[in-house]
Symmetry: C2
Subunit: 326 residues, 2 copies
């Protein structure tokens, strides 16, 4: 199959390598010609995917129209902020588009597959999500994730396409729940990182994660998702790993915030986007729209956009009134 991966960051490149192993013909698109040249010249995609060989057989391009012209399937691995702009090239595309981007568009409140319904109206969107650090997948470390589509046949086709002994793909029809879980956990991970940065412990983070899953589920259900999805790989699975792993960019962002750095300075110094930063804004707007209480998201928003002191924010979160659990 001819597959085009839109997005040459860590996750796009890692999935392109995975699909190449199953003998698909891969086109990898990135917006930056210098980066594409660099991959071509070195056979690697540093600093995004350190130490991983990128197959010579890839077609590398920075021309999105050319990249998708002959494609039979698209993988969209783009920062959420440019997702709408880049996927405009899919206006006439009628195949499966697998979104692996985790975010919520601020002005519309749409998920990435929601955006696809507008930018690629003939396509069949699938969300692929779960606890999937790109570098671990590239190294062949056992990983499991979920392919979600309202259309079960489409979910099954995607599942079979991506499935490997070390990359297990489950199916879901709750695309809203799968996409929201992935987006919201990045916001929570910033709070978990702040907890680390302030010198709090694993006990504190466990309490935060436990409350976060309730908050994510509550907002998700208000948006039409199924509650059970938040107990799955794209919910609790992705949330826990993002909050506890050293590899998480969003947790790392929060850790620096907790140590007193300014949000703008942290963003400026990062190679890749911490999706939780824009998502905190759009998640808060979504919660307000649906009238849902989201204390953790609100505190992350306050730290990022209202200059709230990190210690005060975490203290406010961890010292709410005594009550029965749940």
């Amino acid at each position: 199959m001819r597959i085009t991966v839109l997005g040459s960051g860590a996750w796009g490149t890692s999935l392109a390598c995975l699909l190449h192993q199953a003998r698909h013909a891969i086109t990898l698109w990135g917006h930056d010609p210098a980066q594409m040249d660099n991959i071509r010249r070195t056979g690697r995609n540093e600093p995004f995917l350190p130490g991983i060989a990128v197959p010579k057989e890839f077609t590398l391009t920075h021309d999105s129209a050319a990249a998708v012209a002959r494609a039979e399937l698209i993988v969209a691995a783009l920062p959420s902020q440019v997702f709408r702009k880049v996927t405009a090239c899919l206006r006439d595309f009628a195949g499966i588009v697998v979104s692996v981007t985790k975010g919520i568009e601020h002005d519309s409140g749409l998920s990435m597959c929601g955006i696809l319904a507008e930018t690629a109206p003939r396509a069949r969107p699938v969300a692929l999500s779960g606890p999937t650090f790109a570098l671990e997948v590239a190294r062949g470390i056992p990983t499991a994730c979920v392919a979600a589509s309202r259309n079960e046949a489409v979910a099954r086709e995607t599942q079979e396409l991506f499935h490997r002994p070390m990359f297990r793909v489950y199916r879901s029809q709750d695309i809203e729940g799968v996409e929201l879980g992935g987006a919201l956990k990045n916001v929570i991970a910033i709070a978990a990182g702040v907890s680390d940065g302030l010198g709090f412990g694993d006990n504190s983070k466990a309490a935060l994660v436990t409350r976060a899953i309730v908050e994510m589920r509550r907002l998700g259900v208000a948006c039409g998702a199924q509650a059970e999805t938040f107990a799955g790989l794209s919910g609790i699975g992705d949330l826990t790993v993002t909050c506890f792993s050293k590899l998480s960019r969003n947790r790392g962002f929060g850790e620096r915030l907790g140590r007193g750095e300014k949000p703008a300075d942290i963003s400026a110094s990062m190679v890749q986007v911490a999706e939780g930063v824009p998502t905190a804004r759009s998640a808060r707007a979504l919660a307000r729209k649906h009238g849902v209480e989201t204390p953790i998201i609100d505190e992350v928003h306050a730290m990022l956009y209202e200059e709230k002191n990190a210690r005060q924010a975490l203290q406010d979160l961890l010292t709410r009134e005594l009550k029965a659990e749940g």
Copy 2:
């Protein structure tokens, strides 16, 4: 209030210090006279709680009858294997007994509060559980846990007794669920440690944790617990921290198992018990009794008691057939 803590390990000592801060009169009992002498002499309880001062005001004893004679409330912080034997001294005790032990008695399938119903028939048992590393609590790091009793007034009394700004106690009436969550997560943590020891990654562990919570809930519900409890602090909260933290003894046990050490050698070298080891046996027996499928618990049992190769066990867990999630 006169409070006696039975058990002078890390958690018993840490809780004794916490209750002492609220000006209660503490008696700390340990079975080993040499250890009690050591605390008396050094003002510390090394190696259990490194660097933490034990108040001089504690009454230290290794005589359990004397320890409980004038007590108004008991905290039982004992290894599960000696819980029945030690709590025999509570035969006539009619107050609240707070069990903080996480385990399941093998022959009876009873939880610790189930044992108390037999050894201390006049007492009012409470289970206190959650993501609570003893050393973090002793250091004043923000922590949250649950006090569970079928009797809500008893749960509330316990909550008020233990609650501090940095130690938040929630209430539950699902004592079965709270106790089972705490016991079972130690078994899962061994599997998570094996994954680490084999050099697998955070993706792998997130997948394991996600499936574990389903397995724990399934067994819990079969035993009469409420499904929601497993989504709380004593379920998912305690499970995640135990699987991801460097501080967990059970995860550490599994890590060494994954590196090829023998179970007996690991146990022999540890200062404190890894409760997941005996619990793997009793949890498996409980699952069989109730006809519940528990693939993770079964594989841990096979590694510990049937000499199954660790890599094979994890591989068998991570490569089950393709299916929809849930």
